[in-house]
């Protein structure tokens, strides 16, 4: 309940009803329970991915360290695979590929797609039409299909993976930036900047970019999640990392044939992938919630 004294101080700073600037992305993530859980799990998995290699009990690629396809034992906590390699050691080193490739590919897609999308939306006309058609064209192709066709044609390598994933995500990310920019440039502060005669670059960086960062960041996080799943899936299909290098997706596929004998050989790396992907998804979701919050209240029925 407001008392008179609250109302009187009108001449100085007035009642602050809303927070001023929307908080930065990382603060928004940490503000939600979901985001905090995501960051917690994510940090743990990332720690394993980055530093796990220093704690391997056996050389991860050494064949015949133990018996073939054994269950867990004191010597091999997670058992061994069909070639007698130590599953735990392979698990500790096998997560690098599925996080590094997506990070590079999605960042590239974001930079290129975002630039094109923002430029198209701001310029309009033919430039925009060409960019939008181009995006539509690439997006009409089923993603996994083109990646598989590309691998069938060019063989697999990290470069092929990065490039094809980039091609898949570039139009999708570009389209989001384009849409966000289109929404922002209808604002009169952009018209005000144009009337001041500001240069295109100044308008895009000063007026537009700060206002599309939030939805773009949420999209970026989401795409990373998708790309991690994507790369893990390709590895699982045997179309990514080449043997003998350890990788979680490859381990799941290799262990699948022995799921009766040594279930951990396939379940442990599957769980690792699941944890990483859940963590990333929780973070992305926290960001998305933050961006789309403040929707209308629903009508009571």
């Amino acid at each position: 309940m407001t008392t008179t004294s609250d109302v009187v101080g009108l001449t100085t700073a007035e009642v602050v009803e809303e927070e001023g600037r929307p908080p930065a992305a990382w603060r928004a993530i940490l503000a939600s329970t979901e985001g905090r859980i995501g960051v917690g799990i994510g940090a743990a998995v990332l720690f394993v991915i980055i530093f796990g290699r220093f704690f391997t009990p056996y050389p991860p690629n050494a064949v015949g360290i133990g018996g073939a396809t054994t269950g867990p034992s004191a010597a091999h906590l997670l058992g061994t695979d069909s070639l007698g390699r130590d599953t735990l050691s392979r698990l500790l080193v096998g997560g690098t590929h599925i996080i590094v490739i997506p990070l590079i590919a999605v960042s590239l897609a974001w930079l290129l797609g975002g630039t094109l999308g923002m430029l198209g939306a701001y310029r309009g006309g033919t430039v925009d039409a060409v960019i939008a058609r181009g995006f539509d064209l690439v997006m009409s192709l089923p993603p996994l299909l083109i990646v598989l066709v590309a691998i069938a044609a060019l063989g697999t390598s990290n470069l092929v993976l990065v490039l094809t994933i980039m091609v898949v995500y570039l139009p999708r990310m570009g389209r989001l930036v384009r849409g966000a920019t289109q929404a922002v440039i209808t604002n009169e502060y952009v018209a005000a900047a144009q009337a001041r005669g500001e240069r295109t670059r100044a308008i895009l960086f000063r007026e537009v970019l700060p206002n599309i960062m939030a939805p773009t960041a949420a999209d970026f996080a989401l795409r990373i999640t998708y790309a991690v799943i994507f790369v893990a899936t390709l590895n699982f299909l045997g179309l990514g990392v080449k043997p003998p290098n350890a990788d979680w997706g490859v381990m799941v596929a290799d262990g699948r044939g022995y799921i009766n004998l040594a279930p951990l050989g396939t379940l442990a790396p599957a769980a690792a992938i699941a944890l990483l992907s859940i963590a990333l998804n929780l973070i992305a979701d926290a960001l998305t919630q933050h961006v789309t919050r403040g929707g209308r209240e629903i009508v009571p029925l």
């Binding site: 089923p142 299909l145 598989l148 899936t233 699982f236 396939t266």
Partner: protein, 326 residues
């Protein structure tokens, strides 16, 4: 009526766009598969000892000495007439490999969609009606977690529980589908792949359904309908859902291809002899004709699904019809 002819025109345009996409897929697939020259293919098939004369003979036999566009034209022409060619990797007719696979994949995908879409919408409606409640938030968290799991992880999990531990269902779909004749045995082989696909689709679509219905439930027209004393059923399904349906179907249409791509992985996990498995196999052996044929068939399947979605949107959104009339 003007609206009707406008709708026909919209449908015509979308059909043309679909055919164009299919054409594009065929060019991309054929073009990329032609990057490997006859020598690479011959080496892969006959080993490195093969002589230049033998390569030339091989290349002549399969017509690989002709320019790409000639080969593409011939392939497309034959394909349109039902001849998918012979694989020069396995020497087996592509159609005998691909067509039975295609049939199984079609069944798998459409059954999965048929189960997943109504469930998703119902869950979404259930949640949107009680946004912020414990039930809603639990379902929301669950959907985030399930959506985060790659299909092969879900598949392996289901396989472990239901096939390995409980032994209810076959570990290997291929044996069940290719040898077992009884309908029951065959149907069993579909259960886990379908369940995995459904699990991949539901959290995603339910989330969109929840969001778009929630938005529609907050609109003034919903309030107005409620204040006209209309029954809850009419307000939700006729007033809110009809509007929520447009963004929902649109989002599903955009993502259906993405979601259905999961069929490739699911088939691989369960050794399900569909075109997805065929595609992965053909990819790892760079089997050009098989890759191309499957790419085109899968593309056609995806396009049919997204066309269906487009038509639904045109039906739900009268504004679209009017816009097309202009």
């Amino acid at each position: 009526m003007r609206l009707r002819s406008a709708r026909l025109r919209t449908i015509g345009r979308q059909l043309a766009a679909g055919l164009l996409t299919l054409f594009l897929i065929s060019i991309v697939a054929f073009g990329m598969m032609s990057v490997r020259g006859p020598a690479d293919i011959a080496h892969a098939k006959f080993g490195n000892q093969i002589t230049t004369e033998q390569i030339d003979a091989f290349s002549k036999q399969y017509g690989l000495d002709k320019p790409v566009y000639v080969r593409y034209g011939k392939w497309l022409w034959n394909f349109a007439h039902g001849d998918m060619g012979n694989s020069y990797v396995t020497d087996v007719q592509v159609s005998t490999n691909v067509l039975p696979r295609f049939e199984r994949t079609m069944i798998l995908s459409f059954v999965a969609l048929l189960i997943a879409l109504p469930i998703s919408v119902l869950i979404g409606v259930f949640q949107a009606r009680r946004v912020g409640s414990l039930a809603d938030l639990s379902l929301l968290s669950a959907s985030v977690v399930v959506a985060a799991l790659p299909e092969f992880v879900v598949g392996i999990g289901l396989l472990f529980v239901f096939a390995v531990e409980l032994g209810w269902l076959p570990v290997d779909s291929a044996t069940a589908l290719t040898f077992a004749s009884s309908f029951g045995e065959q149907a069993k082989a579909y259960v886990l792949p379908t369940a995995t696909l459904v699990l991949a689709i539901v959290p995603y679509v339910a989330r969109i359904a929840r969001g778009s219905l929630r938005e529609a439930l907050g609109m003034p027209y919903t309030q107005a309908a409620a204040l006209r004393g209309l029954p809850r059923r009419t307000v939700i399904w006729d007033h809110a859902m009809r509007n929520a349906g447009v963004p929902l179907v649109n989002a599903v249409a955009i993502n259906i291809v993405y979601l259905l791509s999961g069929v490739i992985v699911v088939e691989w996990v369960f050794a399900f002899p569909g075109i997805g498995q065929g595609l992965v196999q053909a990819t790892s052996t760079s089997d050009a004709f098989n890759v191309e044929a499957i790419a085109l068939l899968m593309g056609a399947m995806f396009i049919v699904v997204s066309l269906a979605a487009d038509f639904l949107v045109a039906y739900l959104n009268p504004r679209l019809k009017a816009a097309a009339a202009r």
